[in-house]
Amino acid sequence: MTLPPFQALLDEHRADIYRFLVATVGPSEADDCFQETWMSALRAYPNLRRGDNLRAWLFRIAQNKSIDAHRARGRRAVPVAAVPERSTSSPADADPELWERVRDLPTKQRMAVFCRSVLGMPYDELAVLLESSEDAARRNVHEGLQRLKEELS
């Protein structure tokens, strides 16, 4: 089995991975998560057994890094600080309200909504990414969108 040169993966997916991280962890932590994602991918790459579904593999790593960031933020959070620490006028975070809501979705829904609605990922690939059935992947997209709709209306 041959894996493509890593640079090809980077060229193809770096922008989508970065957008995913900005949307799901916020602009202030996206850069760190982005670096961590690609360093982890580079470390593991030569030992991959399969060269298919590389995008799903990369997004799963990015998802793990975003979960780590969420946890770290949870640990840092101070109960009285109800004011959001991110500036709402940050140019890197074009629609803070919308992405804040996306960030608050359960992990699988967050992933499913972004990959399906923004990237147009096919359901079979999304199922690989979520380690679920295609039906479950559909449900995650549907429920995530439903919840966003309710919260934003």
């Binding site: 949307a23 602009p27 850069d31 670096q35 360093m39 030569p46 966003l148």
Partner: protein
């Protein structure tokens, strides 16, 4: 597509796509098995690649596309191939000097470990042919320890993964005919003229 999906799609268009730099950290952590970059030369653009041990590839981009070269490196050396020009700065500098006539020998280390057997012996022998000198296929076969393996020596030279730096252009057919060159005979003639071995 429902409204909320449209809202997400449109909002995503405003997300930044200018991504942070990665190669500095990847290099510092020893995660780049093959670094490559493109170098301009009078013979057209070259792809040059190096492992942490030394140079592994010089290739004429017009002769063989960059994608094909990178896939070959991924298969033969490691799939951890990244565009990381800093590692190639020394070879870029030496190639520049060579093409400007200010350098006769290359000092950059060569990583021989991905060449096996007779090919490696032939190319190592070729690396010892000096600037402005020429040898023959029979000559390098002998220098590689197998004087009768002239045809095999020719094949080894034809597969030279580091032309210019390993100067296979200095190997001619017995009797002074040019012989072949991977990259095209006009390039072989250019290099021999540059070195004053061909008038």
């Amino acid at each position: 597509m429902n409204d909320i999906e449209m809202t997400l799609k449109n909002a995503a268009l405003d997300l930044p796509t200018d991504t942070p730099e990665l190669t500095g950290r990847a290099e510092a952590e020893g995660l780049i098995d093959v670094a490559y970059t493109s170098v301009d030369s009078p013979l057209g653009p070259l792809v040059v690649a190096a492992t942490p041990k030394g140079l592994v590839r010089v290739s004429y981009t017009e002769f063989r596309g960059e994608g094909e070269v990178l896939e070959d490196l991924a298969r033969r050396v490691s799939p951890r191939v990244l565009e990381a020009p800093a590692r190639l700065d020394p070879v870029r500098r030496e190639l520049d000097e060579y093409f400007k006539g200010r350098r006769q020998d290359f000092d950059v280390p060569i990583d021989w470990s991905y060449l096996a057997g007779f090919t490696r012996e032939v190319l190592r022998a070729t690396a010892h042919i000096g600037f402005g000198e020429v040898s023959s296929y029979a000559g390098v076969a002998a220098a590689a320890g197998s004087p009768r393996a002239v045809r095999a020596a020719g094949n080894a030279l034809g597969s030279n993964p580091m032309p210019v730096v390993v100067p296979c252009h200095r190997v001619l057919r017995s009797g002074g005919k040019l012989g072949g060159y991977t990259g095209g005979l006009e390039r072989k003639e250019f290099l021999l003229r540059l070195e004053g071995a061909l008038l």
